[in-house]
């Protein structure tokens, strides 16, 4: 019963989003039913639909988990976008710089580069929040812009192939590649970039669950997010939890780099992110900041991303930006029903 009630509001939010979306689709002069069937249908076909849906869901699981963990501490991590960009570049850098090493060293090394960079990129705003009370929404957004600028710069001037017109780095070492599903799943073409990072994402869901509900660290993070004054009473340092939560959050967001660089493009490609960081916010909220919910919501939004391309090509006027509109409406609806399910706590401004 309780599970049903948990599901009702997210479903309502999605339904509402579709409704609002239809209004805009009609405004543009297209048919909502046709648009939505294209959107969903193209996401469910085999092997391409499902394959690409799961492929797009992979980074969304990571960013969704990232935002969810931060939220559990009462923090809003808008910087997942910058964190994953910085991490992806770092992953490529590691893959290029240490290209000669064997796979069993190189791959973990690249993974560490990804998670570490993400953790630092989020950790800095975390420290600023913990130490100075600087609101993480603004600082993480600023870090987004900085990440994009830095990654572009380094790609353009230091890691690009001579004469390459595209803003991308040279490829990483062969031993850094992660297998695509096509390699071991019979009947599944290798052109579909779905790779083992998806399995890693599933593992991450389990690990995050264990972290939040079975470790003392997770308990302390959740307590801080629920009631900082009581957490202090319980001997928990709010400042430490903020930094820890942001670092873990950033590390999770950074894992996007693993799938992107080691499993898909095998290099850093400027502009590779289809707004995964921002979509992660919608995924976390829709999934109620719980790993299972995040997984389901990520699959939904992965389907949206896949379908959006088809919608963009095969409708007269609707572009893939429809998905952003759907996202915004979903977040608004999910945020509004916080009223009904007993106060999502937010860290009060510097008060303990």
């Amino acid at each position: 019963m309780k599970l049903l009630r948990q599901l009702i509001y997210p479903l309502l939010a999605v339904a509402a989003a579709f409704l609002v979306g239809s209004i805009f689709i009609l405004l543009i002069g297209d048919d909502p039913i046709e648009t939505y069937s294209l959107l969903i249908g193209s996401a469910l076909s085999w092997p391409d639909g499902i394959g690409y849906t799961l492929f797009y869901a992979t980074p969304l699981i990571f960013t969704g988990l990232a935002v969810a963990v931060a939220f559990r501490c009462g923090l809003l991590n808008i910087g997942a976008e910058g964190q994953l960009i910085a991490a992806a570049f770092a992953t490529a850098w590691a893959g290029i710089t240490f290209a000669g090493l064997p796979a069993w060293i190189l791959i973990p090394l690249c993974c560490l580069a990804a998670m570490g960079t993400g953790a630092v990129w989020a950790g800095v705003p975390g420290v600023l929040r913990a130490r100075f009370g600087a609101h993480e929404v603004i600082t993480t957004i600023m870090m987004n812009f900085i990440a994009v600028a830095l990654a572009s710069y380094f790609t353009q001037y230091h890691y690009k192939k001579e004469g390459d017109a595209i803003l991308e780095t040279v490829p990483i070492g062969e031993s850094g590649h992660i297998a695509r599903f096509g390699k071991f799943l019979p009947g599944f073409p290798e052109r579909i970039p779905l790779n083992l990072a998806f399995v890693l994402a599933l593992v991450a869901c389990v690990l995050v669950w264990i972290f939040l509900w079975r470790t003392r660290w997770g308990y302390e993070i959740r307590a801080t997010g629920a009631n900082p004054a009581a957490a202090a009473y319980g001997g928990i340092s709010t400042a430490r939890q903020i930094v820890l939560a942001m670092a873990v959050s950033g590390g999770l967001a950074g894992m996007v780099g693993i799938g992107e660089v080691l499993g898909y493009r095998y290099r850093y490609y400027d502009g590779f992110s289809a707004g995964y960081g921002f979509t992660g916010i919608a995924v976390a909220l829709l999934g109620r900041n719980h790993p299972v919910g995040v997984l389901l919501a990520a699959l939904l939004f992965g389907a949206f991303l896949r379908g959006a391309l088809f919608v963009d090509i095969f409708t007269e006027h609707v572009s893939k930006d429809l998905v952003l509109v759907l996202q915004g409406v979903i977040i608004l609806f999910v945020a509004s029903e916080a009223l009904f399910r007993g106060r999502a706590a937010r860290l009060a401004r510097g008060k303990v």
């Binding site: 805009f24 543009i28 600023l128 100075f132 600023m142 600028a149 609707v318 996202q327 915004g328 608004l332």
Partner: protein
């Protein structure tokens, strides 16, 4: 030679500070009443897009400006409803609007103008390069006066500091907050309109480039007061002006120069937020205590 540089820099600063000032004055009205307004970025885009489209269609920038104000107010109304009546998390609601306006203008212009998010160019005679600047700086004393010397301002400040006190004095807290938020939408939209039909001549995808958040930082830096906020916006405007002047003149890569406003924002927030005291009820939906 130097004097020309300085005057040019001054004009640049004023021009670049204008959208920030309009957005942050808008934010001031919302936040002094107790409602966090992270949606300034989305409101800027809403204003910019509407102004560009309407000006293009009707060939009249004043109509474009008016339409932009209406669009800003309508968008702010949504934020107000979600935050005040539904008592949602105000930061989340603000971000939702920002995301919405990353996509909505592109969706609509893609359909109407067959572009990837830009509106058609507007001829020079149909632009409003000066009026919004005047409006922005005139609004500073006006805001000060209304906030501190009128009934509405007194009530709004009370609602932002202690809504229960205002409620027991017979003031309708929610109505006052709605007014503050809708006002913020109007002002931010003017800022957005200036971006598309004042500073440039068309709307491009995501053209606010984070200005809504910089405006929020300016508001915090300015302690939620009109004159200090204006000074903060001028500071950020100066930073951006210097950035533009430096491009091409120094050997520093352009990407690093472009980062300056964003780094400055972080430094400002980290260094000065401790000295700023927000309205006490900021961010807390008003519920009668049991």
């Amino acid at each position: 030679m130097r004097d020309i540089f300085k005057i040019a820099l001054l004009f640049s600063t004023i021009r670049l500070a204008t959208p920030l000032l309009l957005a942050s004055l808008g934010g001031l009205w919302s936040e002094r009443s107790g409602v966090i307004n992270i949606a300034l970025e989305g409101l800027l885009l809403a204003g910019a897009f509407t102004a560009a489209v309407v000006t293009h269609l009707l060939h009249n920038p004043w109509l474009g400006l008016t339409a932009a104000i209406l669009a800003g107010m309508a968008t702010a109304l949504v934020h107000a409803f979600v935050c005040i009546t539904c008592k949602a998390d105000q930061v989340v609601s603000g971000m939702a609007i920002n995301i919405l306006f990353l996509g909505l203008p592109a969706l609509l212009s893609g359909a109407f103008f067959d572009s990837t998010g830009a509106t058609p160019q507007i001829p020079k005679g149909e632009l409003l390069p000066i009026a919004p600047i005047v409006m922005a700086f005139a609004l500073v004393p006006i805001t000060w006066y209304v906030l501190n010397r009128t009934r509405f301002g007194l009530r709004l400040r009370a609602v932002g500091e202690n809504p229960e006190a205002a409620d027991t004095a017979g003031i309708r807290v929610e109505a006052v907050r709605y007014a503050g938020v809708i006002l913020s939408g109007a002002l931010a939209a003017i800022g957005g309109a200036y971006l598309s039909i004042g500073q440039s001549s068309l709307f491009t995808r995501n053209m606010s480039a984070g200005r809504g958040f910089i405006a929020l930082a300016a508001l915090i830096f300015g302690k939620w007061r009109p004159v200090q906020t204006m000074l903060a916006c001028l500071l950020f405007g100066l930073a951006e002006a210097v950035t533009i002047q430096m491009q091409g003149v120094t050997p520093i890569p352009v990407e690093f120069i472009q980062m300056i406003p964003y780094v400055l924002t972080i430094v400002v927030l980290a260094g000065f937020i401790g000295l700023s005291r927000p309205p006490r009820a900021l961010g807390l939906p008003y519920e009668k205590k049991r």
